[in-house]
């Protein structure tokens, strides 16, 4: 292969995958312009990916988005040849992955590319640390190096103290952190993430997305992320590729795609969904308000001082266990203080503020927020405070519908 690849991390050229008995016959029909369905009817072959052409830049988060069956999983699995491409080339730093021998391929998987899976795919009989060290173990590194790198990776995802637990002792979010740590431990520059956060509940999912973005700022990996979730793609993607029926129909930054959708299919991703039905209060709540903890020593004066220090007019008061207690503002605090005698803490709360449960639909939240001059606090199970929704957050969310 003498083709000179551009200085991108991964370059995908004319990549095809056809499943079934006669890929060559199906390729011919495909070249003649027949559709996926016609080809299936004639040859029983399924076109998985057709004519993919794009590059992934070093250090970017590249999201491959599409509905199920659009070929996104197949496309990503061809990058490390878990699925063998039928035609085409994939260049990693200029070297053609499709031409690698078995041995080179294994070496490439050990050093260059690691992967995170939707259902975590951890080994239940191994400890968290052993799971995280899996890639290094397979490469035959010394035990100490395995353990050290695993602990370091676990530390990065905040799970170092669980190193000697077993996966079944962890929650879903924690398991996926282990999955992520396993991928980080090998120091591979490329991370393939296959619907990595789709099996997690919405709150944990956002948390993991934020964590991934944070990780990315510290040590830049090139991340190829599969998702069917629009919100996720916009949140973490530097660029998004949208797939339909095995073809890549558009590639661009989230803004590009929102403002100039290439076709009706892409448009439907952004405009077809009624955001107010897709999201609920827990999805959009943000922890941007100042929080004051209610503990024995706290009083009106101290709280007021805290608000003034931070230059805020409003604060969320939390009691033990991060439970929502109420909202206070500089106004109500000042009123309570000037009320004469001992300033009563209980009098300082804004009256009539009720928290919205996290599963409240956006339509209801809308009427709550518009009917209140204060942000609406959102609570999860057992009244645990999750964040607030104010006018700005709500408008930004609704804006996604266009």
């Amino acid at each position: 292969m003498s083709e000179k690849a551009p200085p991108d991390k991964l370059v995908i050229k004319d990549l095809y995958k056809i499943f079934g008995p006669d890929p060559d016959g199906a390729m011919k029909l495909l070249k003649q312009g027949l559709s996926k369905d016609e080809i299936f009817a004639q040859t029983r072959a399924t076109v998985g990916v057709q004519g993919a052409n794009f590059s992934i830049r070093e250090g970017e988060v590249f999201v491959v988005m599409g509905l199920s069956g659009s070929g996104k999983s197949t496309l990503v699995r061809m990058l490390n040849r878990l699925i063998e491409p039928t035609r085409g080339h994939i260049f990693l730093d200029g070297e053609d992955i499709t031409q690698m021998s078995r041995k080179q391929l294994i070496e490439m998987r050990r050093r260059q590319m690691s992967m995170v899976f939707q259902s975590f795919a951890l080994m239940p009989h191994k400890t968290v640390a052993e799971n995280a060290a899996f890639g290094l173990n397979v490469s035959g590194r010394p035990d100490k190096e395995q353990r050290d790198s695993a602990i370091k990776a676990l530390d990065t995802v905040g799970l170092a103290q669980f190193a000697d637990s077993y996966p079944d002792e962890l929650s879903g979010g924690m398991k996926q952190r282990v999955g992520l740590a396993r991928a980080l431990a090998t120091d591979a520059p490329i991370l393939l993430m296959d619907e990595a956060f789709s099996a997690l509940d919405p709150l944990i999912r956002t948390e993991m997305q934020d964590e991934l973005v944070r990780l990315q700022q510290h040590e830049a990996h090139t991340i190829v992320f599969i998702s069917h979730d629009l919100d996720e793609a916009i949140r973490i993607g530097d660029r998004i590729a949208i797939m339909e029926g095995g073809s890549v129909v558009q590639i661009g930054t989230p803004e590009d795609i929102v403002t100039n959708p290439a076709n009706e299919y892409v448009r439907s991703f952004f405009y077809g969904v009624d955001v107010s039905k897709v999201f609920n209060a827990g999805d959009i709540a943000e922890k941007k308000a100042l929080t004051v903890f209610e503990r024995p020593g706290v009083n009106v004066r101290a709280a007021l001082a805290q608000l003034r220090d931070h230059n805020r007019s409003l604060a969320v008061v939390l009691e033990r266990g991060n439970k929502f207690r109420g909202l206070v503002s500089t106004k109500t605090l000042a009123r309570a203080e000037s009320g004469g005698g001992e300033a009563k803490w209980d009098d300082a709360f804004i009256p009539g503020v009720a928290a919205a449960p996290q599963d409240m639909g956006l339509a209801e939240v809308l009427s709550l927020v518009s009917g209140s001059e204060h942000p609406v606090p959102v609570t999860g199970d057992d009244g645990v405070y999750l964040g607030i929704i104010d006018h700005k957050i709500l408008l930004q969310t609704l804006d996604k519908t266009g």
Binding site: R77, N80, L82, I106, E107, R109, R110, M113, S114, M115, F117, Q118, S119, F120, A121, M123, P124, H125, K126, F134, G135, N137, V138, S139, Y166, R182, T186, L192
Partner: protein, 302 residues
């Protein structure tokens, strides 16, 4: 009538000719197999009989208590008392040696065959009907050639037991490996496993509960062959039952039968405890011996 008489596919003759051919041409091989089996099973029996009965019984009770629990330990102790009381200890040990010896052989052959089946569909297509044959052919039928090839005694008994007891080990190894989730296999490959590493680091450990269920079934089936195998002189508890039948001695027959049942319960519960104990057993229990042995062997060959 004439039609029925004339139309004859002489399978009986072919089988006889086949048996004769084997007898004439493969005597050396047969003798070798017989020699090896005798060493394994007699060695096992001698070893178990060399231990003073009370010590062996104590060990069995202790093992049962450790693996299953104190209640089962009590049951094991009670069983030992019964076996001594019925004066069938020697027969029991002899049967135990035959069962463990032939089960071990069944596993040594069966598990690798199961692995090959799981990794290759052609192998599966070929092996599956053979397993069906082994499981459904009445054992008495292969008792005859076994006796012709190996004479009377423990060796043909062990061979017949082996044939009868091996299929579940093969089937459940195959099934266990095929049931390992696609993502786990992909994870193994994505992190750079070679085929061999995939097998030993991913597929076998995750298939272990299923494989252990197969081991348990193999041991149980081996035990159920005891009486039949004693018809060609395998001895042990089966012989006690057989003598009871021949002499119409109900009491003696029952004692032999009870011995088999007690042994079955002990072996079943103990092997099951190994299989169901989840990840701990895979790491530290007796089941860990299998992957550990593999690893040691591989370490040497490298």
């Amino acid at each position: 009538m004439t039609m029925r008489d004339d139309f004859n596919i002489p399978i009986d003759e072919w089988v006889e000719q086949g048996v004769e051919w084997v007898q004439d041409n493969l005597t050396g091989v047969l003798d070798g197999i017989a020699e090896a089996l005798t060493i394994v099973i007699d060695g096992f029996e001698d070893l178990l009989l060399a231990v003073p009965p009370l010590v062996l019984a104590g060990l069995i009770v202790a093992f049962a208590t450790w693996r299953v629990g104190w209640r089962f330990g009590l049951f094991a102790a009670f069983s030992m008392v019964l076996l001594f009381g019925m004066q069938i200890w020697t027969e029991t040990v002899s049967t135990l040696a035959l069962v463990i010896g032939s089960s071990l052989l069944a596993l040594v052959i069966g598990i690798p065959v199961g692995i090959a089946m799981a990794r290759n569909n052609t192998v599966e297509t070929i092996v599956r009907p053979v397993l069906d044959l082994m499981q459904t052919m009445p054992p008495f039928v292969y008792l005859i050639p076994a006796a012709i090839f190996f004479g009377l005694g423990k060796v043909p008994g062990a061979i017949a037991t082996l044939v009868f007891a091996m299929p579940p080990a093969v089937r459940l190894t195959n099934l266990g490996i095929r049931q390992v989730s696609e993502e786990n296999v992909e994870a193994g490959l994505a992190f750079g496993c070679t085929e061999r590493q995939l097998l030993f680091k991913v597929q076998l450990p995750l298939a272990m509960p299923s494989i252990m269920a197969g081991v348990n079934q193999t041991i149980m089936l081996a035990l159920s062959m005891v009486v039949i195998a004693s018809m060609i002189g395998a001895g042990g508890l089966g012989n006690t039952v057989l003598t009871g039948i021949q002499r119409l001695d109900v009491g003696l027959g029952f004692e032999g039968g009870l011995g088999v049942v007690l042994l079955a319960i002990l072996l079943d519960r103990i092997t099951q405890s190994v299989g169901t104990d989840g990840r701990r057993s895979v790491k530290t229990g007796p089941a860990a011996l299998i992957p550990r042995l593999w690893n040691t062997l591989r370490g040497r060959s490298n």
